[in-house]
């Protein structure tokens, strides 16, 4: 039987209260929301927090809304609600692509966007999605809030910019003209982690790629941000040759390891193909030409 080691449990009734508890209880305290990453890690003794602060009652953190030229997603928004959101599907179709292949529908009823991002598993899909979308996150501590771009969010494997006694409360996606996006993932079986996945977002401007965002899952120690491929494409009119070049850069710039999901050369090849597919689909969506 797998059971976590003993810990103390408390339930937060406000964001301020949760942060105060983190401050009071120190580094051995953890927030728990959906718990579908943390509890398995606790069962395996990969995580041994002495205190869990349950934030599931913080309904004020479960929302998807448009405000001030952004889509704002509360940290406690569950995967199922990201999947079903028409606002997200309209502006950032890659969320629905990704949410259809994140775990399974029952797990998606529990897991949250805040939990997924803070877990910062390199194989996790939403970190690549938010990287491609050029999202930023709101991190709140006792002293107030700060807004951190996805570029500064991942500081190492399973490590984020969220500090001690801080909490990720919101994800912000910029609303920009000419947007199209897609997430392409290959997995061994339904609901599995990716062998590799690519998130792409484009913002078209007069037939050219005004801006591009590309993130990769499962092929590095952290989510891979493909800045070199973005630079290649930015300001160009998309062509098959350019997309093929972007795929080559993607295959070169990722850092997969060989494991049960496949050898390195296979994963690099896969990344090249998925990057081209994601970009092509994102562009088709931005120009209303999706087949």
């Amino acid at each position: 039987m797998q059971t976590p080691a003993a810990f103390e449990y408390e339930r937060a009734t406000s964001v301020e209260g949760a942060i105060a508890s983190l401050q009071r209880l120190g580094p051995e305290a953890r927030l728990i929301a959906g718990g579908h990453s943390l509890l398995p890690m606790m069962k395996l003794r990969l995580a041994n927090p002495e205190h869990l602060i349950d934030v599931n009652d913080l309904a004020e953190l479960a929302y998807i809304r448009e405000a001030e030229g952004e889509i704002r997603i509360g940290a406690l928004t569950r995967h199922v609600d990201l999947l079903n959101s028409d606002v997200l599907a309209r502006h950032y179709a890659l969320f629905r692509d990704a949410e259809q292949v994140i775990a399974d529908p029952v797990v998606r009823n529990r897991g949250t966007i805040g939990g997924s991002l803070c877990q910062a598993d390199a194989a996790e899909d939403l970190s690549a999605v938010c990287t491609a979308a050029k999202a930023s996150v709101v991190i709140r501590g006792a002293e107030g809030e700060r807004v951190v771009g996805m570029d500064q969010f991942h500081v190492g494997p399973y490590m984020t910019a969220v500090g001690a006694a801080e909490m990720l409360t919101e994800v912000r996606l910029p609303l920009r003209a000419g947007a199209g996006s897609a997430h392409e993932k290959v997995e061994r079986r339904a609901g599995d982690w990716a062998i590799a996945a690519c998130s792409a977002a484009v913002w078209m401007d007069n037939g050219q790629l005004g801006d591009v965002g590309i993130g990769l899952s499962a092929v590095g120690l952290t989510t891979v941000h493909l800045t070199r491929a973005e630079e290649l494409l930015r300001g160009t009119a998309p062509s098959d040759e350019l997309l093929a070049q972007a795929g080559e850069i993607a295959a070169a710039d990722c850092a997969p390891t060989a494991d049960g999901r496949g050898p390195v050369d296979y994963k690099r090849h896969l990344v090249g193909v998925l990057t081209q597919r994601a970009l092509r689909r994102a562009i088709a969506r931005a120009t209303n030409q999706e087949a």
């Binding site: 797998q2 003993a6 509890l39 398995p40 199922v80 775990a103 029952v106 797990v107 529990r110 609901g191």
Partner: protein
């Protein structure tokens, strides 16, 4: 918490998982404890109406919430249509995955009374039948959907 419509109150260790609380503390052994890793779906129960994997939820997290287990499907000696469908179309062999399958597909029909075969397959994609009797399970869910539609129509 409320379990199958009844208010229950117990002191438990924070680390007690919902599946063990149901099985060992409340003696509701219909919910099966399977893979323990949120993969197999044998332990699915409803939490505030949504299907969840009870091996990956703390009992303490359900304080103040509503849990529904497979034991609640039969009412007044009458099987739920989803149980009738599984019975009619032989959708269980060893029966280990059945409680989770029933609760997962009951939730599907509550949300989508007329699912396609594909929608059923997606809904049970987080539930593993080691006898690999998926075809009959999908047929049973369709049977239940049609039965419920006919009941409503009639």
């Amino acid at each position: 918490m409320t379990v199958n419509g009844e208010q229950v109150s117990r002191e438990v260790e924070p680390r007690m998982l919902l599946v063990h609380f149901l099985r060992e503390t409340l003696d509701l052994t219909g919910t099966h404890w399977g893979c323990d890793t949120s993969n197999c779906g044998a332990c699915v129960v409803h939490l505030d109406g949504r299907p969840v994997k009870s091996c990956t939820i703390l009992a303490a997290m359900c304080d103040g919430h509503e849990i529904r287990t497979v034991e609640s499907l039969e009412r007044n000696g009458e099987l739920d249509p989803i149980q009738m469908g599984f019975h009619e179309l032989h959708a269980l062999q060893c029966g280990f995955c059945t409680p989770g399958m029933l609760m997962t597909t009951r939730a599907l029909l509550d949300e989508n009374p007329d699912p396609t075969d594909h929608e059923i397959r997606v809904a049970i994609s987080g539930a593993i039948c080691r006898c690999t009797g998926y075809k009959n399970i999908v047929s049973a869910v369709r049977w239940a959907a049609e039965y419920e539609a006919a009941q409503k129509g009639g």
